[in-house]
Amino acid sequence: MIKSLSHLPTAEASQDALAGQFTDLHPPLNQRQAEIESARCLYCYDAPCVNACPSDINIPRFIRNIAQDNINGAAQTILESNILGGSCARVCPTEVLCEQACVRNHSDECEPVKIGLLQRYATDNMQFSSHPFKRAAATGKTIAVVGAGPAGLSCAHRLAMLGNQVVIFEAQSKPGGLNEYGIAKYKMTDNFAQKEVEFLLQIGGIELRYGLALGHNLSLQELQKDYDAVFLGIGLGASRQLGLTGEDAPGLMAAVDYIKELRQADDLTTLPVAKRAVVIGAGNTAIDMAVQMARLGADQVTLVYRRGTESMSATEHEQDIAKANQVKIVTWAQPKEVLLDDSGKVSAMRFEKTVLDASGKLTGTGELLDIPADGVFKAIGQTFDESSLNDVNLGRDGDRIRIDDGFRTSLSGVYAGGDCVAPGEDLTVQAVQHGKLAAMSIHQDLMTNVEAA
């Protein structure tokens, strides 16, 4: 399975014990808790939480529905703005979005309303006899959606709802994207990503094809030819490199690749464990990697970041999770050298201490710091998989696809959204919003063209 770590021992704990380490990080609210928590919502007008939600969920309305024991009403309120409201309830950094904006996030008010957990309560407990959204009259249009991640799924659902046919092309063997492959296991338990996709597909009109990757066995030019429009929700498929010698040595790998294996493992005891693990990075993936390795049984997990904690993209809440799992966070140190043992395997990671110089630029001080490691996991960000668009010339902003405010790329009839586009913020909830808005833009463009014709 994980070739570069095949020399490491596997997890020692029993299967049951390990399973216990990967149950819900934040257990769901029960009915009583949901009653209490929903009653705390002040039902603000022009609510700050809604303004802070990238997917525009009418939060006061869904919470009031919960308080009035109208769970389906609550769920539909959520899902009409965000069809992946269930996974967003689990993975959203609510502490910097809705819950940060909550008017009760004020010292006199004790604490913000637990909006994320209430959203989960509604979406977990909804009981619809049939899919809650109906499709509009058929438009006769068929749209290709590339990527069955949050952006693609959201786009497909909204397109289907508007009366279009959709074919989703997915490189992996399962849908869900990062929800299925990239998020820490304890944030998305009980095969939720698949259940959510099943629910979403109930709307009808969406066909899913697997094992088809753009630039490999799928061509954008062909899609453009065969479909009325194309939506690219292909994410950022490549992991950023350290750019150091020894980057390919056994013992060093991308965190996302390890997490993907972990998420797909039926038996966690088969996973290789780096007793001494070093994670390089400062985002949620870095935290997810470090915490999961700690929970698998590593003795010492060190997360290293080249700047201070205040610059970390992982929220304070995420950093707290890491600390609670005995992850040591080392700041102001940048990767300098991969140290190998005699057999060419990773034995330690060498860092150089950093400071900000007078001009505010990050510079090395020359002071070195070696951290012994059986495994080094890089989580320094994802970048565009260049191979995916090698057959076309698509306008770009840096490593992301350039789009206009209608999610149109530089190629006619090709739209894009989610992490792969320039305004992307690597948030599931934003990808969902992109997919939804892009679907409306695609639909509008297609209908305008019909009228014009």
């Binding site: 009653e35 209490i36 009653a39 603000c44 022009d46 609510a47 700050p48 802070a52 004020h106």
Partner: protein, 424 residues
């Protein structure tokens, strides 16, 4: 420490907190526990003629607030379902054991002179301090010509009161039903019949909720229901108005009033007393939390009285009555304007939407650079209705500030805008 003791129509009690005639005062066991907990008195659950009443199973229902706190409570229980003899023997013993506490016996027998003539000496022989005539029970008993069926006919009230004064030396308290158009009618009747005091309110006809699956009101008795008597915090405003109406009525001026209706805290009690009550009766709060609540009530009332310099209940009883008047005597020149404390405002926007949608469009919604909102009162538009202050979830964030209009007191009877004003 303030003296909480009272002499209510000749009935002495160490404090004004009595338990109302209801399930908590059904038998010696409960009453003794209440005295042990510190209650100043009890009104023993209503006695009637034998055979004793029979009660149904499933008797109470309620409406709730957001945190499942009971706002209003409803019951369909009848008067005591134990024999007269057992009750009388227990009353006698309890009064002997607790001589310093008030023990009033609630009574309800048919509207016939002989029935009253029979029961009154039996009660008097127990040594009880007084009787309370149950003319208010709104469910079950009126179907048999008793309870509210009597209380709703002032002539009956006066007649039965007179019988009681004729055949007993005990102080007579007439308990009034609120299920009537003008509470002053039966109060005057009681007064004219010689009542020593009135107590109010009894419960209000009510249906608290419907089981929408079974399509039946609560409480459910074998698939059916009936209206009950409503009490608890929700009825307090209705009760206080009725107490004030009687206290303000020259025809019954000075009659002692025992205030009843949603009292659960010392502040509730103080409010009733301020409107003219000189004792208060509690039931729902005790039924929800137990007898121990009287400790906080006594402590709170006593500390507040000390703070205000009131040495006794009589010192402040009725103090709010002179300020309770008819609408036409309110000052047309008085003006308040809402003021929002921006440091306390949490930006929920409820004052804005309440005023904008349903009142006078007097609050401006100002979008700030950081995406939040700031709410400001448009003083020239504000009519001082209090709505924003009421909907604001933050204590003391919105205050209603009196304005100096420079205009003298002028009521509606003097107002030039009133076509029917009195000639000056």
């Amino acid at each position: 420490m303030a003296d909480l003791s009272i002499n209510f129509a000749g009935i002495k009690a160490p404090n004004p907190f009595w338990l109302a005639s209801a399930p908590p005062t059904d038998k010696a066991y409960n009453v003794v526990r209440a005295y042990e907990a510190g209650w100043g008195g009890v009104v023993w659950k209503t006695l009637g003629e034998d055979p004793a009443a029979v009660n149904v199973s499933s008797r109470y229902s309620a409406i709730y607030g957001k945190n499942k706190e009971v706002l209003g409570f409803n019951n369909i229980e009848l008067i005591t379902d134990r024999s007269l003899e057992i009750n009388l023997r227990e009353i006698e013993q309890v009064k002997k054991d607790w001589p310093d506490r008030a023990l009033v016996v609630s009574l309800m027998v048919p509207c016939e002179e002989e029935s009253w003539k029979y029961i009154l000496p039996l009660v008097e022989a127990t040594g009880a301090d007084g009787i309370e005539l149950n003319f208010g029970c709104p469910h079950g008993m009126p179907e048999r010509g008793m309870g509210a069926a009597v209380g709703q006919v002032p002539e009956y009230v006066e007649m039965v009161t007179r019988w009681c004064k004729t055949y007993s030396k005990m102080p007579v308290i007439v308990k009034l039903t609120p299920n009537i158009t003008d509470i002053r009618g039966p109060a005057r009747a009681a007064y004219n019949g010689g009542a020593d005091a009135v107590s109010l309110i009894n419960t209000i006809n009510s249906i608290t909720s419907i089981d929408l699956d079974q399509m039946v009101a609560r409480p459910i008795v074998g698939g059916r229901s009936t209206h009950g008597g409503y009490c608890g915090p929700a009825v307090k405003p209705i009760a206080m108005n009725m107490v004030a109406e009687i206290a303000r009525d020259p025809a019954t001026a000075g009659i002692p009033i025992s205030g009843i209706g949603g009292i659960g805290s010392w502040r509730d009690a103080a409010e009733f007393i301020a409107l003219g009550a000189s004792s208060v009766q509690v039931c729902t709060a005790a039924m929800l939390y137990g007898f121990r609540i009287v400790e906080e009530m006594k402590d709170g009332l006593s500390r507040w009285m000390d703070e205000k310099g009131y040495n006794s209940i009589a010192d402040f009883s009725g103090k709010a009555i002179p300020n309770t008047t008819d609408w036409k005597y309110l000052d047309m020149n008085y003006k308040v304007i809402a003021q929002i404390d921006q440091d306390k405002c949490i930006g929920c926007g409820r004052c804005y939407i309440a005023c904008e949608d349903t009142s006078h469009q007097s609050i401006a919604n100002l979008l700030q650079d950081n995406g939040t909102h700031k709410y400001e009162v448009k003083e020239e538009e504000c009519v001082g209705c209090n709505l924003c202050q009421i909907t604001c979830p933050v204590t003391d964030c919105i205050t209603m500030v009196p304005q100096d209009t420079g205009e003298p007191y002028m009521n509606w009877t003097q107002d030039p805008r009133n076509p029917f004003r009195e000639a000056s």
